[in-house]
Each structure stands twice: as structure tokens, then as C-alpha cells.
């Protein structure tokens, strides 16, 4: 972020501009017709422009245009397509709102949308129209809109000062910055006033008076100046961009950087706006900082919420937001400022009594004294009654009747105690007793009770123990001092206790949060895949935010309900909630309950993921009542950051795994192809040759040759079939899609089926089988296991002399069923015992061609059943293939089937 002191274009800056350029191409353009007041003709200008576009064949559609009954404007609307408006019922009134979904579905090239500052009726997607516009731009729709200068957020205060009319509908400055084109619609105040008198300017009836006081020449002049200046700023910025783009060597920004100190006070919002204005003027980056200093009383919940609101404002105005902590406010601020080359510091004017500064030292003095080369701007806090109001409401709490009654009781007891023994004790002792009571009350019952206790103690002491007794009159002036001391002690102790309690509470919350984050990080570290990460996130979010939670990810097909990765508690997931989650996935910003977007949903959705496109959505069920306060912003951010990182990591791991699998499959495919292309071509060549010979030379071929040719075709076709079958089997086994369907099968059935299938190959060959009756049934996939046996037997048949014997034996051994296929062939070359089970390995002396897959398939099948296959040379010549399958105990069902069968067999 640091501005380099360069005199040539900064590469980062160029890159950023390139990105912005790309972004712009993808997104829709925003054109703003900008004016200083209602009635200058913004809508008119927009419509005129639209008609020109229309005449050029551009697809222009009116989303929403307020004609305010003006005939000229209405006439301009004719001939342009209108999007139908959506009717929203609100408190019995029918409100017409933009049909955002309809526009997104219609997807015009250009959409006209009057009044950018408009506030939508409740029940629409967004609170504000400018948010609708962002969605439209994201969807690639060009938007033309109108805006008055008083609606700009950062000018809000200035306008209020000038016109004494506070505008509530504001548009963040970044919308104007985001605009690709700003067209200023200007009209001198005199002309505007003339139009007003002619009745050509629309004024809402209920606001006529306010509006009339607004339309004063002075006001209009000021507003016009603001609008012109704002436009000039913009032109200047464009000029700057042009200079940067073309490396025109001239004055470069001096690297200004502004830091504004923000607190929970409502006046801080003013500081933020001022900072934004100054930053815009200097074209400098700016940072809003809040400081947690030691020794300062921790904030109440209401304070924290207001601070969050102020920081959000800063963010929405384009500032960076930081939270600083340090020994003192000034030290934390300057430490940050020096490290980040801040040149200007903006702070508010103190609003408290000067006495406090005398007692505690003034922050302002401190800042100015330590500022060094940094300019300190002090800006007045807006201390109007409106600003104070929230504090008062926050302060109004339930009266602790119980504590007050206890305090009264304790004072009464102390009085009674003192009264009984007043002949023995001096008045000083009695004062001590009262002080004890006050201290106890202050520590145990709070500040209110301690004040009451102090007042009552003073009263009782005066009434009972200060002469003249039983009156409130005081004869000796020195007693006044006693009263004052008692009172001050109670206040000091009460205040201290309160502060300690708050700090303790804050410390406890902080500790809980830290512990929660730590636990989250720890659990996330052990979660490996998407689903388990999501489960951890859902569980911890449920604890941390004390509500039901859900983690969603995009559905594989658009339009389907989002896929629930993990859920904790029951979360509403009706169509409004789905819409919120989908919006968050698309836009990467929080939405739903408690936000400005789709607040009607019963779910608050937060994006998960560090990139621009979220990987998932964390949904927090909105509590039924608004009783549960919103969790603090920094905690939510920290939580989301952790969760997002973990999810991203898991996602990358999944992707890597998928890529690795893909690569393996690819590799297998390519090696398969290279290995088998020759083997596939040879039989095909033979078949083609023989068949064409039969067709083309039918007359010349003798009958013996004909038989020879036809036989060749059959043999080669058979070989081709077996080859293709092997390749398919191997691919199925390797791709991991194969399912082993285990059934209980007698060994002799498997052997019988395999021998039947190899009838032709085993012709004229002595095959002996030795299958004991007591062999257990095997739990195997009958089809696969038969294939295994067929391959082993076929292998034996092909590598041994035609008339040599093949012996098949089965036995149980150490809890395993062992099947042996032994031949009397040439045996295995030394060292090849394992190699022959690898893919594309063929034995020596093989006269037949094959892809070398048969035994590899055997091994894959045996291993998929938890078994093993091995080969060794047989004693006395030949090879033995041994298949070892773990014996699995019969289930009760299978055992009963056997028992039943043998029972029946008894005569």
C-alpha cells in the first residue's frame, strides 16, 4: 500500500489498473446523471440520451423512471420498453419497486434507473437501490441513473450545515467513484427557481415546507458549487489516471496518508466523513483506527456496536480499518502512524468538561506534543441532541431494587448497631462502621446502591449521632467534612468496582473468544477434507454465536438447492434463505438477517473463502427475538478468516487429490494405449486381410484355403475379444469404480465354472482337481473370482506344452483358504516371481500375443478381496500359482443353510 516515491509508473499500479480495466469489461458500465438539486433535468437528460441510444439500435429498457407528472418527461418515455414494476405491500400501502429478478432475467444492454439514492420497500432484496445497481452491474448490465449532490454520503454533513436539512437517503461515495461516466446536469439557481415557480419542479406535498426552505437561492448556489466541485474532482482523477497511464512526468502525489481516530461516539461518523473528503482532495489513502488503550474503561455493548457502525461507515467510504492496542491512545496512534508513513492525523474535538483533562491529562495535548512531523487536524464533534440520544437510552437500565433494598437494610443495621453502643464508641468509630457498610455495598451491590448507602449513611449519622440528636441540624461545621468524605469514598469505591467488574467481564469475554478461536484453529488443523472442515466450522460457530448453524456450498448444477456440507441444530432453509446463501456465494459479501441485503430471511449468511469467489457460506440462524445481540465485528472477522483458510486448504487438498487420481488414470490410459495399440492392430490386420481375400478372390481360392482363412478369422476375433475384455476389466479395476459384491460361494462351484469356461483351451489336457469336502464357502464376488481363476488357468494353459497336466488343489491353512494351480511347464525365470503380476509384463517364450494384463488383473482382484496371489517354481519342474483368501466365518444365515441341507440329506 505504501506509495513509492517514483517518477515513473508504478508496476503495481499499472497492474491494478489493468485488472480494473478487465473488471470493467466484464461488468456493466455505470453512468450517473449528476445534479445539484431536484428539478435541474437529470431524468430528462437521461431519457434523451436513452432515446439516442435506442435510435442506434441499443437495447435500452426503463427499469424505473419518476416522471412526477411532467408531460415532457412522460413523452420521452414513450417508445421505450418498460420493465414491469413489482408491487410490494407494506403497511397496507401498495409500493411499486424495481423487479430486480425480472431485470436480471431479461438482461437488457442498458437499464434506466432513476434516483440512485432511493430506499427500497421492506421485502425486496436490498435495502437500497444502489445495492440493486451493484448486482445489475455484476450481471453485466449497463445502468444509467440519476443522483443529487446532497445524497452523497461524505457530503452529508456539509449539506446539512448549508441547508439545515438532513438528508437520510445517502449513497456511498464509492458508487460515484465506481461510475464509468458522470454527466453533470447543470442549471443556474435563477433558472431553477423560475422553473419552480412555473410548477415544473416536483415537490412531495408532505415535505413542501421543508423543500421550500431548501430551495433558497443561497442553498442552491452552495449545492451547485458542491456538485461542480465534485465533478471537477472526478475529472481531475481521470486526468491523473491518464497521466499515470501515459507516464507523463509531472507532479506526483506527495505520498500523503491520512489516519483518522474513531471512537464509539456518534460524532466520530463526522470525523470519518471529513477524513474521506480530505483524502479525496489529496488523493491519498486513508485509514480509520480505533484504539484499545490500557487503563481506559472497556466499552459497553452499546458503545461497541456504535464503534462497529463507525468503522463500517469508514469501510464503506473506501477507508482501511485497523484496530490498535497500546499503553496509551497517543502512543498506539503514533506507533502505527510512523510505521505506515501517515502524514495527517484527524481527531475529534473533546466534548467533555475541561476539568477532566486537568485531572487525567488531555489526549489532545498528548497528541500534539508527540506529533512531530505529522499534522494533527482537530475537527469539531457534532454534539447535537440527536447524537446523545442513543447513549441515554443505553444508560437506561432496569432499577436494581433488590440491591437498593439490601443497601438500605445494611445502613439500618449499622445505625441500630451504632445506636445501641453509642455510649461506648466515639463518633469516629461510628463513621468507620458506616464506611465499612458503604465499602461492602459498593463492592457487592454496585454503584447505585453505594450512592444510596452513602446518602442514607450521611443522613442517619447526622440524625442519630451528630448533636443535636434526632434532627438533621448540624451544630458543628467540622461534621460537614465527615459527610463529604463519606460521600466521596462511596463514589470512588463504587466507580472503581464498576470499572473492575466491566474489565473483568470484558476480559472474560475476550478470553472466551480467544479460547474459542484457539479451539477452532486446533480442530481445523486436524480436519482433512471439505466435509470435516465444514463440520468443525458449524460446530464452533454454533457455540461461538450461540445459534443453529449451517455450512453450505454451491450445488453441482445451478438452480438446485445449495448443498449442505454440515449442519448444527435446525436451520431454516426455505427459499428466501436459499436465495440469501446463493447471493452470498455469488457476491462474496455477508447478507441476510441483520444486514442490508435481504434482511427478511431468517438466516445470516457469511462468505467463507479468502478469494473473490467464496467456497462456501456459513449460515447463522437468526434468533427468534432480536434479544441476542449481534456478535462483535472483529471476532466475526477473525472467526471467518480462520474458517475460510481451513476450508480453502481442504479444498486445495481435495483438488490435489483429484488431480493426482486424474494423472494416474491418464498415465494408465496412455501406457495402456501404447501397449495395446500394437496388440489390437495385429488381429485386426489378420481379420481384415483374410476377410477381404475371401470376398475379392472368391473364385481363386481353393476350399482347403478357404477353411484356413475362415479359421484364422475366428481365432483372431476371439483373441481380440479377450484382449478387449482384459483391457476393460483392468480399466474398471484401476479406476476404482469397481464394487466387490461378496456372496457366499462354494469353492467347487467357482472352480467348476472356470473349468467350464475354459473347456476349449483345456481340451486334451489332463486337469486334476483336489477339493476336500470340508472346504468352507468363500465370501467373494463370484464373477470376479471366477475371472481370477480363469486367468490363472488360462495362463497355465498358454505357457505350458500342450499335453502337460494342470493340477488344481484347495486346502485350509492358518485360517485362510489356499487355492493352488500347478503346471509342468518351463517354470518361471528366476526373479520373475513378482514381476509377472505387473501390468504389460509377458512371460518369455510366449508364442501367443496378449497385452500382459491377465495376471495383473488376478492380483487386483485378489487384493480387492483382501487376499493375495503369488507364484513360485514347483518342485520337479513347472510353476505354482497360489491364491490365498482369508477365511471369513460363516454368518448364522449361511451356517443354517448348510445345516438344513445336510439335515435333509440324512435318510
Amino acid at each position: 500500500m505504501d506509495e513509492p516515491p517514483a517518477s515513473r509508473p508504478d508496476p503495481d499500479l499499472l497492474l491494478r489498473r489493468l485488472h480494473a480495466e478487465e473488471e470493467r469489461l466484464r461488468r456493466g458500465n455505470l453512468k450517473v446523471f449528476f445534479g445539484c438539486a431536484p428539478g435541474v433535468g437529470k431524468t430528462y437528460a437521461m431519457l434523451e440520451n436513452a432515446r439516442r441510444l435506442r435510435a442506434n439500435g441499443v437495447d435500452v429498457v426503463i427499469g424505473c423512471v419518476e416522471t412526477h407528472g411532467r408531460a415532457e418527461t412522460a413523452a420521452l418515455c414513450e417508445g421505450l420498453e418498460h420493465m414491469p414494476m413489482r408491487v410490494v405491500l407494506y403497511r397496507g400501502a401498495k409500493l411499486l419497486e424495481l423487479d430486480l429478478e425480472g431485470v436480471l432475467a431479461r438482461k437488457p444492454r442498458v437499464l434506466l434507473l432513476d434516483e440512485l439514492a432511493h430506499t427500497n420497500a421492506p421485502g425486496t432484496r436490498h435495502k437500497k437501490r444502489w445495492q440493486d445497481v451493484l448486482d445489475l452491474l455484476d450481471a453485466g448490465i449497463e445502468v444509467h441513473t440519476t443522483l443529487n449532490v446532497q445524497h452523497i454520503e461524505s457530503l452529508n454533513d456539509v449539506v446539512a450545515q448549508v441547508t439545515s436539512v438532513r438528508v437520510r437517503e445517502t449513497v456511498p461515495d464509492r458508487m460515484l467513484d465506481r461510475a464509468d461516466e458522470i454527466e453533470l446536469v447543470d442549471l443556474p439557481p435563477e433558472a431553477l427557481l423560475a422553473r419552480l415557480q412555473e410548477g415544473k419542479v416536483y415537490l412531495p406535498t408532505e415535505a413542501t415546507r421543508a423543500a421550500q426552505s431548501f430551495f433558497k437561492r443561497g442553498n442552491l448556489l452552495a449545492l451547485r458549487e458542491l456538485a461542480l466541485r465534485r465533478t471537477a474532482d472526478r475529472v481531475d482523477a481521470d486526468m491523473q489516471a491518464y497521466r499515470e497511464a501515459h507516464a507523463i512526468d509531472a507532479t506526483w502525489p506527495a505520498g500523503e496518508r491520512i489516519l483518522v481516530c474513531v471512537g464509539p461516539s456518534p460524532s466520530s461518523a463526522r470525523l470519518v466523513r471529513a477524513a474521506r473528503r480530505m483524502a479525496a482532495g489529496l488523493r491519498a489513502p486513508w485509514v480509520a483506527a480505533s484504539v484499545d488503550a490500557m487503563g481506559v474503561a472497556p466499552m459497553t455493548r452499546a458503545d461497541r456496536e456504535r464503534l462497529d457502525a463507525n468503522l463500517s461507515l469508514a469501510e464503506s467510504l473506501g477507508g482501511e480499518v485497523v484496530r490498535l492496542a497500546g499503553k496509551s491512545v497517543s502512543e498506539a496512534l503514533f506507533d502505527y502512524a510512523r510505521r505506515h508513513n501517515v502524514t495527517r492525523l484527524i481527531v475529534g474535538k473533546p466534548t467533555h468538561a475541561p476539568l477532566r483533562d486537568r485531572l487525567r491529562g488531555s489526549l489532545l495535548d498528548d497528541l500534539v506534543r508527540h506529533s512531530g512531523e505529522i499534522d494533527v487536524h482537530v475537527i469539531s464533534g457534532d454534539a447535537g441532541p440527536r447524537a446523545r440520544a442513543p447513549e441515554r437510552t443505553a444508560a437506561r437500565r432496569a432499577v436494581p431494587w433488590r440491591a437498593l433494598a439490601s443497601a438500605t437494610g445494611l445502613v439500618a443495621a449499622a445505625t441500630a448497631f451504632g445506636h445501641v453502643g453509642r455510649d461506648f464508641w466515639s463518633p469516629v468509630d461510628i463513621v468507620m462502621i458506616y464506611l465499612l457498610v458503604i465499602t461492602v455495598v459498593a463492592v457487592g451491590l454496585g454503584r447505585g446502591a453505594s450512592l444510596l448507602a452513602a446518602a442514607l449513611s450521611v443522613g442517619c449519622y447526622d440524625f442519630f449521632f451528630v448533636p443535636p440528636f434526632y434532627t438533621f441540624a448540624v451544630s458543628d461545621a467540622r461534621h460537614i467534612l465527615t459527610f463529604v468524605v463519606m460521600f466521596v469514598v462511596s463514589v470512588v469505591i463504587g466507580t472503581l468496582t464498576l470499572r473492575v467488574r466491566r474489565q473483568e467481564g470484558a476480559a472474560r469475554t475476550r478470553e472466551e473468544r480467544t479460547a474459542g478461536l484457539y479451539a477452532l484453529t486446533r480442530d481445523l488443523a486436524t480436519a482433512a477434507d471439505d466435509a470435516s472442515v465444514a463440520r468443525v466450522i458449524a460446530r464452533h460457530a454454533a457455540t461461538a454465536f450461540n445459534t443453529a448453524t449451517v455450512v453450505l456450498e454451491a450445488a453441482p448444477r445451478p438452480g438446485d438447492p445449495l448443498h449442505v456440507l454440515a449442519e448444527r441444530g435446525s436451520v431454516p432453509l426455505e427459499s428466501p434463505e436459499q436465495a440469501v446463501a446463493r447471493w452470498v456465494l455469488e457476491h462474496g459479501r455477508p447478507a441476510g438477517s441483520g444486514t442490508d441485503t435481504l434482511p427478511g430471511a431468517r438466516l445470516r449468511c457469511l462468505p467463507l473463502g479468502t478469494g473473490a469467489e467464496p467456497l462456501g457460506v456459513l449460515g447463522l440462524a437468526a434468533p427468534d427475538a432480536q434479544a441476542a445481540p449481534a456478535p462483535e465485528r472483529d471476532f466475526v472477522e477473525a472467526f471467518l478468516r480462520q474458517a475460510s483458510l481451513a476450508l480453502e486448504r481442504a479444498h486445495l487438498a481435495d483438488e490435489a487429490k483429484a488431480a493426482a487420481l486424474q494423472a494416474r488414470t491418464e498415465q494408465l490410459r496412455s501406457s495402456l494405449l501404447s501397449a495395446v495399440s500394437h496388440d489390437l492392430r495385429t488381429p485386426l490386420a489378420v481379420i481384415t486381410g483374410a476377410a477381404t481375400a475371401l470376398r475379392d478372390d472368391a473364385a481363386a481360392i481353393r476350399s482347403a484355403e478357404r477353411v484356413e482363412l475362415v479359421d484364422t478369422i475366428c481365432v483372431e476375433a476371439h483373441r481380440l475379444e479377450r484382449l478387449v475384455g482384459n483391457i476393460l476389466d483392468m480399466t474398471r479395476l484401476e479406476s476404482g469404480t469397481l464394487q466387490v459384491k461378496r456372496e457366499w460361494v462354494p469353492v467347487d462351484e467357482l472352480v467348476g465354472a472356470a473349468l467350464t469356461r475354459l473347456e476349449a483351451e483345456l481340451q486334451n489336457r489332463p486337469v486334476t482337481t483336489d477339493l476336500p469336502d470340508e472346504l468352507p464357502m468363500l465370501s467373494v464376488d463370484p464373477v470376479l473370482f471366477e475371472q481370477l481363476l480363469v486367468n490363472v488357468l488360462d495362463n497355465a494353459a498358454r505357457y505350458t506344452p500342450a499335453a502337460s497336466s494342470i493340477d488344481l488343489r484347495a486346502r485350509t491353512e492358518n485360517g485362510a483358504v489356499v487355492l493352488e494351480v500347478a503346471d509342468r511347464g518351463p517354470g518361471l525365470p528366476p526373479g520373475a516371481e513378482n514381476k509377472i503380476f505387473e501390468k504389460f509384463v509377458r512371460g518369455p517364450g510366449n508364442t501367443e500375443r496378449g497385452a500382459g494384463l491377465g495376471l495383473a488383473i488376478c492380483r487386483a482382484i485378489a487384493e480387492s478381496h483382501g487376499g493375495r496371489i503369488e507364484a513360485e517354481n514347483r518342485e520337479g519342474g513347472g510353476a505354482t500359482f497360489r491364491i490365498r483368501m482369508p477365511e471369513i466365518e460363516l454368518g448364522p444365515n449361511e451356517a443354517s443353510a448348510r445345516a438344513e441341507a445336510s439335515r435333509e440329506a440324512q435318510p
Binding site: 475366428c714 467348476g752 477339493l771
Partner: protein, 236 residues
């Protein structure tokens, strides 16, 4: 079993396959009617009678099994499924849906002809009652009237379940019966009787009837599908 003059409906979408079947079957004097789609096949079977249907499963407008089920609704015409689907589940599904036999592509012409003969004879046998007094399957003879089973002239004693099973297989000699069909035919219950019950009894029956149970000649296993009692006709 003579094939001449029998009418066969060939439901097959591959023109090359149709051409081959037309040439090969036509040379045996069979009358061939072709259908390339499920819809065409449905029109053909409702408009006239066939002696046999050769059915491909993967048709452009649907699965051939739908036609098999539909045909079983009104006729007992033998259906032989010809399919490139190698998976045993597909075979079981086809047989359970009412197909008489299942041949995996590629197949030899002699095998197809043998299966067709078996299917045609079954259809005929079902049409004309009663059964011949004593049936012969290679060395095995089955005298149902006297409930007597002999192998090479030696009487074999069977348990009631074994006998029922042999009866069922003999009724459908030459055809594959799925585990489910056997369970249904022997126990009258295809849901709770599992494949391994059938297997256990089949193993015992084999030990009694086969000269070498590990190299069966009569009771053949179709792995993953079911069993078939071998008919001499099929071996030729």
C-alpha cells in the same frame, strides 16, 4: 428342432449387426423382420405373430427390457437378448424381466442357433402337453411319473429339495435360471431365500449327479447369473 420357416423379429439399432443377422439367419431358411427402434418393434409385435424375438437392449428410444416386459404381458414368444452389456447384473435383470436367454456380443453363430433351437423347443413343449414319459439329458434320465432319477442307469436318491430343483431345471432345460427364479420355483419365495441357499443345494445335487463335480457337464454355472441344465441339443 428345425429352424426353417420360423419367423424371427430382430430388434437391433446397429445396421451392420442387422445385416449380419439377416445374412446368417436367412441362410438357415428363417424369415427375418427387422426393427431399429423400440417404437418400430412395438408396432411389429402388435401387428403380427412371431416365433422368436432377438432383442438388443440399448435402443435409441429406450431400453429393450421394456419391450420384453410388454411382450410378456400378452404372449409367451421366446425372447433372446443380444447385448454388448457384459455385466452379470444386466443379464440377471433381463432374465428376471422375462427374457428366455441372454447372449453377450460378440457371439458365435453356432451358439446363437443352438440357443434359438432351445428357446423354440421350449415354446413348443409348453404348447403341447403332456411331457414325454422319461426325459434324457446326457447320462441323466428323469422319470417324473415314477419320481425316479438315474445316472448312467444307476438310480440316484435325491432329497425333496434337490428333486424339486432338478425338476425346475429340467422344465427349462438349456436355459439359464437366475438364483431368484430358482428360489421362487423351489421354495416359492424369492425374497428371504438368498443366493447361497441355492448354491449349497446345487453343490449337493452336483455331487450326486456329476461324475466330476469340479468339472460339471450337466449342471452348469453361469457366474453371477444362475444355473443351466445342459441339453445335448445345445452342445451340438
Amino acid at each position: 428342432m428345425k429352424l426353417e420357416g420360423k419367423s424371427v423379429l430382430v430388434v437391433e439399432d446397429e445396421p451392420e449387426m442387422r445385416r449380419f443377422l439377416r445374412a446368417a439367419l436367412g441362410s438357415h431358411g428363417l424369415e427375418i423382420v427387422e426393427a431399429a427402434t423400440l417404437g418400430e418393434a412395438t408396432r411389429r409385435v402388435t401387428s403380427r405373430r412371431f416365433d422368436l424375438v432377438l432383442l438388443d437392449l440399448g435402443l435409441p428410444d429406450g431400453d429393450g427390457l421394456a419391450l420384453a416386459a410388454e411382450l410378456r404381458g400378452f404372449t409367451g414368444v421366446p425372447i433372446i437378448v443380444l447385448s454388448a452389456r457384459r455385466r452379470e447384473d444386466d443379464k440377471v435383470q433381463a432374465l428376471d424381466a422375462g427374457a428366455d436367454d441372454y447372449l453377450t456380443k460378440p457371439f458365435g453363430m453356432n451358439e446363437l442357433l443352438a440357443r434359438m433351437r432351445v428357446a423354440l423347443r421350449h415354446a413348443e413343449r409348453a404348447a403341447r402337453e403332456p411331457e414325454p414319459a422319461v426325459e434324457h439329458f446326457g447320462p441323466l434320465s428323469l422319470d417324473r411319473a415314477r419320481r425316479r432319477v438315474e445316472v448312467s442307469g444307476r438310480e440316484i436318491r435325491l432329497t425333496p429339495t434337490e428333486y424339486r430343483m432338478l425338476n425346475l431345471l429340467a422344465d427349462h432345460a438349456g436355459r439359464v435360471l437366475t438364483h431368484r427364479q430358482i428360489a421362487q420355483g423351489v421354495w416359492g419365495d424369492s425374497r428371504t431365500v438368498e443366493a447361497h441357499h441355492v448354491r449349497v443345494h446345487m453343490a449337493l445335487l452336483r455331487k450326486k449327479l456329476e461324475a466330476s463335480p469340479a468339472r460339471p457337464r450337466l449342471l452348469l454355472t453361469e457366474p453371477g447369473v444362475g444355473y443351466r441344465l445342459c441339453e445335448p441339443d445345445l452342445e451340438t
